[in-house]
Structures are given as structure tokens and as C-alpha cells.
Symmetry: none
Subunit: 221 residues, 4 copies
DNA sequence: AATGAATGAGGATTCATTCAT
DNA sequence: CATGAATGAATCCTCATTCAT
């Protein structure tokens, strides 16, 4: 792997791990809330249970977070930002201007990186998945950030490689959907559907990349 | 398309549409519950709201469904069964013994058929997605039916074509995951993420099949 | 025992066993209600449970008994009447005019007879005990029948024997209370507090009569 | 009366009056609950009525008592304990080793003392009587404490006096039942059946003791 | 007579949130 | 800052009773 890319990966890691300053009790509350929301869903969790699990008084939660929903937002929003952080790095599509003969290594680096991120933030990712449909604020944030910024960046890359005839000539939205489906499908299987299996992650990543590469390869008539 | 396959598709349709006999009020309750659960989630919906929406007394709900959860189950369970019904038809993998040169038409038939089913049962499908993680009964049913029966059938087909060297030599579980990811990815985008777009469904199905076919094609070194 | 007394006992039995005419369903309802009220109390029993136990529709109960309370009254009232029936027989205090040297045999006959009655109507007796304090109608009936009629009869007898100096010269109300306490104390222990014990009823009756006789015997200074 | 006995009576009083520390609202809730349960029975009382009577929000009840039944137990259990407290004082049967020629004074002291206790706790005593049959926890406590501990103590005394031939030679269980029946019979008449009467309590106690003493006196053939 | 679906008031209990300490 | 008692609206659910069939 090129040195350039390694630097980029370091950047990606740095960006994801920025942590806000919080008091000891706040951290306990957040942890308890994450655990509870993740296990029972937002609507199925009670603030009293969270307080108990956090070892604080019921009132303490509301000193830090005006409402229960506030608590949810302040858990999900930063993680959603971190989840897509690498894609909005200003040098994300540096790959375009490098002299890579292909995008395979790049794809592999991104997958590995996000795999780690998901692994380390699994409960919050679950909360995101479950709650986005029910909370306008989260939907807005999701559509804005993921739907626009990320999509825009990825689209540029895809269309670049299409111009170079390294990717089949199919609407770029479709190309993106296919690729992302395969990757997210892997993440879901790995962490949500069959986490108990004995996964060979490197191999599966390779299979997935291989599948995507062949699926997207230009058609030779 | 062969006549045989057309018959099978008819069979698939027939199986999916069997409808239970219910009283007028029961239907109203179910419809109101589907609408509400789908919009706010199970835990976020109140029985009083459902009753009001259904135009019945709150007590009437509990005459027909012992608990609120009962109401959920009796909505989700049959639809989950219908969702996978085609896969457990005894002649589902008839394709194996036919003389198709490939499995493309078969795949297209299944996708089209399930696309229609999802379209016609969208709110319930949403409920399924949201609630399965929180209800042991639904999880059990899902793992049992989808995880075991459907997977088994599909695996047979995949391994059959692998033996005939029409599919790349990769673990069948991985093959299945890739194909399903692409299809479900399409369904999610079509109905949940970007339903407001002006979709050319036939074309997208073709792209997806094309992507899968190339992604799964045997590698020629 | 005298022949006269035996006749009286026969009369007592006859009076207690008069049974009202009821339809088959009515009998089932009453039995179910007795069972339920006795086990859970009136307020703790639901008409739906009674209907279920009786094998009739919920509405059927209300065809025969206007309200749930009606059902209670129509169970308790007749049994309360039967419970005191012997005491209001017009020849109850025939004992006064017989030439008995004492009242022992008479007391024994009454105790035995009421013991049988209680044994055969235990659940209803329980209901009476529990519900009289909470239902004005039952209280009225109880005070009227038991408190007045029975008390009047017994008082005459007691005062008769006091005049004959066979009973200690103590207020007749106190005498009656003492005797009844001992008898009812026995019934309660026998059937409610320690029903599982292996009771020698005849012997206990003798002990109780003996205790009463000595307790009430005229004091010899 | 001996000085020794007077001391014992003081001890008895002290033990009965120990009062738990409770907040102002808790006291109001308990008082309202006692009043309501006593008047309508446990099952016939609603928590909303109790809250209203106590002048607190309904939720407040459940902050202090997890369930309505909890509220009942926390009312009845301590009173049941206090009711029998004198009998389990370690010097209760001190009477055995004193040089009393008889047990009359002792019996009178106990009756007077418990009469006062019942007078001061009448509503709770009523609740006890009504609810013990319907609540396993109360039954257990009753059988354990009253049935075992009290009975054991009293039995020792009775058998002691039987050995000394001051009590008739009849099974001690029967002796106890007779004595207790007379005393409880008096209490019930005094407070529950005919509370409106103008009772001369001291005289009735004397009559009852007299009745018991004669009823239990050794038989002279 | 009998049914049982339907009712809506009322049941116990939970909840997010407030506020005096 | 933190507490936890207090709130009262809202929750799910049960109930006695009615009424069309």
C-alpha cells in the first residue's frame, strides 16, 4: 500500500476518535443510556432505569439533558457524524488524483476502517438503525450528511472511474447502491444477524471486494 | 420464459394472498394498528390511539387480542410467513432439475414477485424490520423460518450451480449473502430510503441481476 | 335421647334442606359463583371468570341476576336463612316446657345439627363471613334475623334456666355470648383454621358442652 | 397485683407502641389506606380513592409502596406483629415460675392489655380479619407467628397448670381454644358486632374470666 | 332463553419531568 | 451540581353491563 494512503488512514482514525469532554456522571449516564436504548429501543426504555443503571438520581439526567429525546440525540448525532467522518475528509477522494491503477486498495482500506468503527460502536449503531425512522431530527441529519455529503463524494469517484472505463457504464447511483449494499450486508451479517459465527473477516472482505469488482467491471461484449 | 416457470410463479402468487377471515371490527383494528405501529413503532404506539383510529372502544381491542403484544404478533407473524412462502414451496428449486442454461430468469421472477409483495405490505414489512430485534417470539420465528428453511433451499441451488461451474467457487454462504444484499439493498432504497424517486424498476432489476451475475461469474484466470 | 327431641331434629333437617327450583344453567352459575366468591372474595371475583367456570356466556349471568351484587345476595341470603332456620322453628324452645332436667342434650343436638349444616355449606358460610361487613343488605338481614329472632329465642331459654337456677346469675346476653363463642370457636377451628387436623368431632363437642356447662353452672359460695 | 406483674405489663405496653419513622406523606397515605381498606375491603378499594383521601398524587403511593398489595402488607404485617408481641416477650410465661396461687390475675392483665390494643387499632384489626384468607403472605405470617409462637407459649402455661391440677385434664389444644374463643368472642361483640352498646368492660372481663375459670376448673367427681 | 361482541369507565401502575432542598 | 420526592397524565388492561342477534 502506498505511503500516501497510509497517511490518509491515519487521518481517518484520528477524526473518528475525537472525544467530547464530559463529567464522570455524564459518561455514566451516556453509557447506561446506550446500553438501555440498544437493548430495548428508545420508547421501550425508561429514564428511571437509565438513572439506576448509571448510578445517579433520576433528576440528574435532566440536569444534563433537557429531555429524554435530547439524551438520544446527543448519543446518536455525534456517532452518526463520526460514522461518515472519513467520507467528508477533504482529502477523501485524493484517490482520484493519485496514480492508482484501480480503486481496490482504497475500497479495502475504507471497509476495514469502518468495520472497526462499527465494531467499537455497535450499540450506538443499533440505536441509529432503530431510531432514525422515528425521529425527524435524526432523519434530517442522516439525509443531510450521509445522503448528500457522502453520496456526493462517492459519486465523484465512481464517475471518475467510469470515465476511465474501469467501471461499467451504469447509472452511478445504481453502482453506489450495489457496492454499499454488499458492504453493509456484510456488516449486518457480521455484527447483527450472525455475530456468533466464527468469521474470517479478511477473507470475507476479499470476497466482497472481489464480488464488487467483478460486478462493476466493464462488460466486454 | 418457459411455461413451467410461469406456472410456478402463479403458484407463488396464490400462496402469498391467502387471507384470513376476520370480523369487520377486527379488520379495522388491524389496519389502525399497522398504520400506527409502522409510523411510531410498537413501544411508541398506544392502544388508545389505535382504538381511536380504528373507531372502536379501547376494550374491543383486548377482546380480540389478549395483549398489545398479541396484536403485534398477529400482524407480523402471518406476513413473515407469507414473505418467505415462495421459498418453501415444495417446487421452489424445481429450477435445479429443469434444463435452464442459467438461473437468471429464475432470479428475475423471484425478485419481481417479492418486489410486489413488499410493495403491497410495506407498512407491515417496516414493523417487522423494527420489531424483530425486540421480541423474542418474532426472532425465533424469523431465525427458524427465514434462517433455516429459506437458507437451506437457496443453498442447494447455489451449490448446484457451483458444481456445474456456473457460479464462482466461494463459500455458498458468502454467495448467498452477496446476492441477497444486492436485492434487499434495492428494495430498501426503492421503498424506504428514497421512495420519492422516480424508479424504473424493471431496469434496476436488470442492473441488479447483471451485477450479481457478473459478481458471481466463475473467474477466468 | 327422648323421642320428642328426635322429632324436633327431623323437623330441623327438613327445614334446612328445602331447595329452590332453578334451571340447569342457573345452578351452574350459582355453583361457579360460590366457588369463586369463596376463593377470591366478592370484589376480587369477576363475572367473566364465573361465566367461564359455569360454562355459560357472560350475558347469561345478567339475564338471571340483574347485577353482580344480586348474584351475591341470592347466594348468601337463603343460606343465612337456612343457617338460623332451626332457631326460628315454632317449637324450638319446646325444650322449655319439656321435663328435661337440664339443657345438655338439647345443646348437643343443636350443635351436631348446625355442624352438619356448616360442613355442607362451607363455601357459602365463608362468603357470608367475608361479605356481611361490606354489604348493607346482608347486614340488615343478619341483624334482623340472627340478631333479633335467634337471640330472642335463645334468651328465653337462658332466662328460663336462670330462673330455675340451673344457670349462673349473669346477664343473659353475656351467657349467650359465652356459649356461642365456644361453639362458633369450635366451628371456626374445625373448618377454617385447622381443617387439616384429624378431628374427633364427638369428643370435641362433649368437651365444649362440658366447658359451657361448668362455665355456666350456678356458683356455690 | 404483684409488682412483678405490673412491670411485665409495662413491658408489654412498651413493646406494642414502638412506631416506625415515616415521612408526612407516607403517614397520610397509610391513614387513608387503613380507612379505605377497613371500610370497603382491599379489593373494593381503589388506589385513586386512597390518594385522594390522603391528599397526594396517585403516583406518590407507588413511590412508597411498589404495589397496592405492598401497601396492604406494610399496614397489616407490623400490626400483626404488635398484636402478638406480648406473647413472645421472653418473660411472658414468667407466671409459671412465680408463686401465684392461680392464673386469674395474669389472664386479666393480658385481656385488658390486648383489649386496649384492639381498641387503638380497630380498623387495622378489621383489615387483618378480612384479608388474611386472601393473601398467602399474610396467612404465612399469621400461621407462623400466631399459630406457632403464641400457641407454644400458651400451651406451656396450660400444661403447667394441668400438672398442678388447677386446670381440668382435657387436651391442652381444646383448653386453649375454649379460653381464646371466649376472649375473642368478647372482643368481637364489643368492637364489631355491637359497638354501639354501652359496655361495662371491667364487668364483662370479670364475667369472661369467671366463665373460663369455672369451665376449666378441675372436675370434682 | 342464550349468546358473546361491544362498550367506556375505571383499574393499577409507569413515566418523563419538576423543584425544593 | 446533585438529589429524590412528588406529580398527574398516560399506559395497558379489566370490568360489569348492554344489546342485537
Amino acid at each position: 500500500m502506498s505511503e500516501e494512503m497510509e497517511q490518509w488512514i491515519q487521518e481517518m482514525l484520528r477524526v473518528s476518535d475525537a472525544d467530547d469532554r464530559m463529567t464522570d456522571k455524564q459518561i455514566k449516564i451516556i453509557n447506561a443510556a446506550v446500553e438501555t436504548f440498544s437493548a430495548k429501543g428508545f420508547a421501550g426504555s425508561s429514564t428511571s432505569e437509565i438513572a439506576q443503571k448509571a448510578g445517579v438520581a433520576e433528576g440528574t439526567i435532566f440536569r444534563h439533558y433537557k429531555t429524554k429525546k435530547d439524551l438520544l440525540i446527543s448519543i446518536v448525532a455525534p456517532t452518526m457524524a463520526k460514522l461518515i467522518a472519513p467520507f467528508v475528509l477533504k482529502d477523501f477522494n485524493k484517490v482520484l488524483h493519485s496514480n492508482y491503477p484501480n480503486y481496490e486498495d482504497f475500497l479495502r482500506a475504507v471497509i476495514r476502517n469502518r468495520l472497526e468503527f462499527v465494531r467499537n460502536n455497535l450499540p450506538i449503531i443499533k440505536i441509529m438503525l432503530h431510531e432514525i425512522p422515528f425521529h425527524a431530527e435524526l432523519q434530517t441529519q442522516f439525509k443531510e450528511h450521509v445522503g448528500k455529503k457522502v453520496f456526493q463524494r462517492v459519486k465523484e469517484i465512481v464517475e471518475h472511474f467510469q470515465k476511465e472505463e474501469q467501471i461499467v457504464s451504469v447509472p452511478s447511483t445504481t453502482v453506489i447502491r450495489h457496492a454499499i449494499s454488499v458492504i453493509i450486508g456484510f456488516f449486518l451479517a457480521r455484527f447483527l444477524l450472525l455475530p456468533e459465527l466464527d468469521w474470517n473477516e479478511e477473507q470475507e472482505i476479499n470476497y466482497s471486494i472481489d464480488f464488487i469488482m467483478h460486478g462493476l467491471a466493464p462488460r466486454n461484449k
